[in-house]
């Protein structure tokens, strides 16, 4: 969608990752020169490196231990980040606003009981009646509340429960495109006058063998040692990162009326799903770019890329950047996957968050790696293009712009 009838402002950001907690911590590390050092654990899940979540005091945002116990880690991370975003936007504790805050999340599901799975898998082969054994093992071994830790929409459910954001609740699924769809849904509803105040985000717990297994079935994981997303070689691969990220998106009018300040405006967003066939190179990204940012004058262009490192799509994104170059833009790309890891459903939203942060600080990030793909940019960008290409399906672009 191109120009929006109502401006969408980003008035709150909650972010936790391997780089730390909160915007100041992320800015301090990521805007530092020289390039920040990714926080990577190469041992725990070898040969797969992961970006582990920084230590957080969950009780600060989820005070009841009973609530904490009913969630799995991805939910705790997400609920925590949602709390940070609500507080940042000045909404936390304001029941009048929370009662009409529409929650939109991007989520997968999971966290299995890995110990139970391991026990059952080891024993079941030798059972005279494997199916009967399985019934008994699950009926007596599964924690009754585990399913609530697995359901996709229970991240949103827990946010309503803990933070009292209860306008409505929608959960989008579909790997990276879940994040694009969640942001797009909120933006369209604000633009269409169907809502004024949204809490949009997602979370990933990368430190899970069941998540790794799901990715590795199709060979999507990078095997160590760690390298930046642009330098993962022929087969490519993603390095998952634990992230919780939430944005408060608000109509400009609503924000102005309550005196809320904007980090940035979410100017436009568009998505599609190209047929990715063997040998096809064009994912239609230039058409999406023209839809959301075609009016931008040629010259330097800041790009926060959600590129995963998985091939061939990483190469296809580079080809798109080269295509921009050919049209007179000079993309200064930063792949946040290098420094945060790849966060699947939450990844695009993290890109929007970092873009809004940079715009609000009137500065830009130095290159995140030394591959040479990421070039320095002089000055402060007023607009930042955010890309979100699914590692196997789907393409999304957004334009974040200074709100003044």
């Amino acid at each position: 969608m191109s120009a929006l009838p109502h401006d969408v402002w980003i008035t709150g950001i909650g972010l936790v990752s391997s780089q730390g907690e909160g915007l100041d911590a992320h800015w301090d590390r990521l805007a530092r020169v020289p390039a920040p050092r990714p926080v990577v654990d190469e041992e725990r899940f070898a040969p797969y490196p992961v970006h582990p979540l920084a230590t957080i005091d969950v009780a600060r945002e989820i005070p009841k231990t009973s609530d904490q116990r009913q969630m799995e880690q991805w939910q705790r991370t997400g609920v925590y980040a949602a709390g940070l975003a609500l507080a940042d936007a000045g909404i936390a504790g304001n029941s009048e606003l929370l009662n009409r805050t529409d929650v939109v999340t991007a989520a997968g599901n999971g966290e299995r009981d890995l110990a139970l799975d391991a026990r059952v898998l080891e024993a079941i082969g030798a059972q005279p009646a494997p199916d009967v054994y399985l019934n008994r093992a699950l009926a007596t071994g599964l924690r009754p509340t585990l399913y609530l830790g697995q359901l996709s929409n229970l991240l949103a459910g827990n946010i309503s429960l803990v933070h009292k954001a209860t306008g409505s609740s929608r959960t989008f699924k579909g790997e990276e495109m879940a994040g694009v769809a969640a942001v797009e849904n909120a933006v369209r509803r604000i633009a269409g006058g169907e809502g004024e105040l949204f809490l949009v985000g997602g979370a990933l717990n990368a430190e899970r063998e069941d998540l790794l297994l799901g990715c590795e079935l199709d060979g999507a994981l990078h095997r160590g040692p760690f390298r930046s997303v642009w330098a993962r070689g022929e087969g490519g691969g993603l390095v998952p990162g634990s992230i919780g990220v939430f944005l408060v998106l608000e109509s400009e009018v609503h924000a102005a009326l309550r005196g809320a300040k904007a980090y940035a405006s979410l100017r436009s967003i568009a998505s599609d799903r190209a047929a990715r066939r063997a040998g096809s190179t064009d994912l239609g990204l230039m058409r999406l770019f023209d839809e959301i940012a075609g009016g931008l004058p040629p010259g330097p262009l800041a790009v926060l890329s959600g590129v995963s490192g998985v091939e061939p799509v990483t190469g296809q994104e580079r080809a798109f950047l080269q295509g921009l170059e050919a049209r007179g833009y000079h993309p200064a790309v930063r792949a946040h996957g290098t420094v945060l890891g790849h966060a699947l459903e939450a990844h695009f939203i993290a890109g929007v968050a970092l873009a809004a942060l940079a715009v609000s600080r009137q500065a830009y990030f130095p290159p995140f790696d030394v591959s040479g793909v990421e070039r320095p940019l002089e000055g402060a960008p007023r607009q930042i293009l955010v890309t979100g290409l699914g590692h196997w399906r789907g393409e999304g672009l957004a334009l974040v712009e200074a709100a003044d």
Partner: protein, 426 residues
Amino acid sequence: MASSVRDHRGRPVAVVTGMGIVTSLGRGKAENWAGLAAGRSGLKRITRFPTDGLKSTVAGTVDFMDVSPYSAHDLSLAMAMAAVEEAFGEARIETAMFPGPLIVATPPSEFEWPLLRQLYEGSPEPQHGGYRRLLAAARTGNYRGMARHLRFASIADGLKEKFGCSGEPVSICTACASGTTTIQLGMEAIRRGQADAALCIGADATVHPEGLIRFSLLSALSTQNDPPEKASRPFSKNRDGFVIAEGAAALVLESYDAARARGATVLGVVRGCGEKADDFHRTRSRPDGAAIIGAIRKTLGDAGVAPDEIDYINAHGTSTPENDKMEYLSLKAVLGDHLARVPISSNKSMVGHTLIAAGSVEAVFSLLTLRNGLLPPTINYDVPDPDIPLDVVPNAARAAAVKTVLSNSFGFGGQNACVVFSGEPA
């Protein structure tokens, strides 16, 4: 310039021009409606896997789709495709030519035990146990075909591949309200003028041991296994839980103007939708029903329909002690004395709880109720609950002209979504 029809807020009107359905009662609207009208149950003893040691042994499985071996992904996709094909046939839309967005509600994408066992047994590193051994199997690259089960966009992708909708196909989950949410998303896209058509689908096929057991551990399922067709007893005093079931349904939504312009038959109007999240408990509603009440009120407000204009309710009616009581109390709060005059039935008495697909399945049944002038019954209603004084259309279908239907959907995680349908605008 052609005249355009707008709703009470000046928005384009969304109508339904095609419907398709698969449930345990059969494939297609004809088989399903015949079953509903006859008060026939599709619920039966589970034969897909042994049920030894399980408290609940009844389900509404779909066993006739030629999907073997069973998996939630493959059966959900097959049912969804069958439902879309039927809907396209009715709407006279060519396969692979759908001119709008696709929104599908899908079940969890997860490892099922046959998949885990296959990886475990095929692993090149049998000296290890647990996930280390499974990951070694995945690394061989020999199990790429299994990835579809774990990808959340996979069902949507398969549908897009076949039916060619515009843009990125959207997968959603609002638990047992998901089907209704797809209709809401489609309606909103049409109202915004973003699209002239939307394809809204819900599918769920999760009757496998772990799927059954996890609901059982939450004490959500009926344990009245004998006879199976009597296990689901919505609104009865002796109800004790829902019966897990499978199904899929698809609805083609179009703007009224677009439907008229191409001469499509309008099957019903999506008058409005509403939703409200609960903040009380992960599996229970606020005792005062505030969130359900909020969802119903928002729906009526969105639809521009007064409470006394509702003349039939397609209940969420799961047959759990909690749901049916809270649904009654909330309806009473919104409809007041009018509720005593409104028949309400639960299709789940016959097709069980199709979970993610329930809102879609019940939307199709709501529209068939409108069109056929026949209220499907709530079967197994032998012991009325004095705390729930409703006209549940007990045990036998009833002829009645219906103009405006409210369909409710509620789900774990505080999800509440409702939709109002009515006949073609005058």
